[in-house]
């Protein structure tokens, strides 16, 4: 399963999709399941590094086609899942640096050259994540944590709308505005409270991790969760710290009232690959 086995010169109208670069990968660990576009995955090896690639049609993954296709959420999801499946399987077998989605080469020889030319940058990226894995933690505030205002609840309260209070006009519009402002103050106060809790959770977990990277909170439509997401962080863990970390998340989940914490993983080290490094040398 090397690049030479594939006759790239004859494959007009195709390109080579690069998933990840791996080190010390057992050839038997090359995923048997198909990659993007249902094409079989193969390995291209050079200089002790293994690139996972598959052949895609330029009609789907050419520059023009990608421009349109990646705007299509269904196509994007299919590509993202196929990309992830390959990276994930390989990352469980050997240290693996994921490559950004939709990185395409003309043929396997070009990929082999990349492995040689960029060997040191890949090696540095792989050194950082060897013996480690990425875990995601999300924390949610449930309605009771968001709603309850423990001290100094807004004096205007829910009556604010009808009160016609003397401060600043008496029209319906002014009352509406006051009501909106009171609502916003209560939300902001609750927000500050849960933010402080989120930061405390993060501080506790970061102690156990090699590195952490914060992601923005997710849209509830996508996360499929009814709580308010207050924390969304990826942690890079040494393999021998994983169990302690999971126990800590579980403990937080049970300990904090109104706050739920959940963990996903292990992930390939997507969030802990230094993207700037490899790009700098390659850009012309």
């Amino acid at each position: 399963m090397t690049g030479a086995a594939y006759d790239t010169a004859a494959a007009a109208g195709t390109a080579v999709y690069l998933y990840a670069v791996s080190r010390d990968l057992d050839p038997a660990a090359v995923p048997a399941a198909p990659g993007v576009g249902r094409a079989p995955v193969r390995a291209v090896t050079a200089g002790g590094l293994t690139a996972l690639v598959s052949t895609v049609r330029e009609a789907d993954y050419g520059e023009e086609a990608l421009r349109a296709n990646l705007e299509d959420l269904a196509f994007l999801e299919a590509t993202a899942r196929a990309h992830h499946d390959v990276v994930d399987q390989v990352a469980r077998a050997a240290p693996t640096a994921p490559v950004r989605i939709a990185t395409l080469y003309r043929d396997d020889d070009r990929v082999a050259r990349l492995l040689t030319e960029r060997h040191d940058a890949f090696a540095r990226a792989l050194d950082r994540i060897t013996g480690r894995s990425e875990w995601g933690v999300k924390a949610y505030a449930y309605p009771e944590a968001m709603a309850a205002a423990p001290t100094g609840a807004d004096p205007a309260g829910p009556a604010g709308r009808d009160a016609g209070s003397p401060a600043g006009g008496s029209g319906a519009g002014a009352a509406y505005l006051r009501n909106r402002q009171a609502q916003r103050r209560r939300r902001e106060e609750a927000g500050r409270r849960v933010t402080a809790q989120a930061q405390a959770i993060h501080a506790e977990l970061a102690e156990l991790a090699v590195a952490a990277r914060q992601h923005p909170p997710q849209d509830p439509k996508l996360s499929g969760h009814d709580g308010t997401q207050i924390l969304n962080v990826a942690y890079l863990l040494d393999d021998d710290r994983v169990e302690g970390f999971l126990a800590a998340v579980k403990d937080l989940d049970g300990r904090l009232p109104g706050i739920g914490a959940e963990v996903t993983g292990p992930w390939p080290p997507y969030s802990f690959i230094d993207t700037g490094d490899a790009a700098a040398g390659e850009r012309r």
Binding site: R81, K138, A172, T264, S271
Partner: protein, 145 residues
């Protein structure tokens, strides 16, 4: 460990999990990792669009949650250079405070204007004559009331 389904397979260290059935990743978790992470290499097919067009999808995915979180005053990621290009620029160049203040003022003013529009709409809901056509004020704020 717990019945919570989100504890996907989190039972043992990563290296021993190869044989277990792998869970299907949540799309949001997946996209936030895959869209703009991983080693960036300029391939033979120049998909610079990753910086541009994908951004619109990211925005579609993220904007709703960002708006909601901001409403609650949770906006720490805006100051995190790895998440916000604005924060990154400021970290890189040390943007002058005056510029920051100006931006904040504009944002605040926009918010005030939006509230006023909402209030006016609420007060004149029965009046079919003029509508403001949505809440988004695209101007820099303060240009007309």
């Amino acid at each position: 460990m717990t019945d919570d389904l989100s504890w996907t397979g989190a039972r043992s260290p990563a290296r021993s999990m190869g044989m277990e059935q792998r869970p299907t990743a949540n799309l949001a978790d997946l996209l936030e990792r895959i869209l703009d992470k991983g080693i960036v290499i300029v391939g033979d097919i120049r998909v610079n669009l990753l910086d541009i067009e994908l951004l619109t999808i990211k925005l579609r995915l993220l904007v709703a949650s960002v708006d909601r979180a901001k409403e609650m005053g949770i906006d720490w990621w805006e100051h995190d250079p790895s998440l916000s290009s604005r924060a990154r620029r400021q970290a890189d160049e040390g943007a002058p405070d005056a510029e920051l203040d100006r931006q904040r003022q504009v944002l605040k003013e926009n918010e005030r204007l939006r509230e006023r529009i909402a209030a006016l709409e609420a007060a004149h809901r029965d009046d079919p004559a003029e509508t403001t056509g949505g809440k988004k004020t695209t101007g820099k704020g303060g240009d007309r009331q």
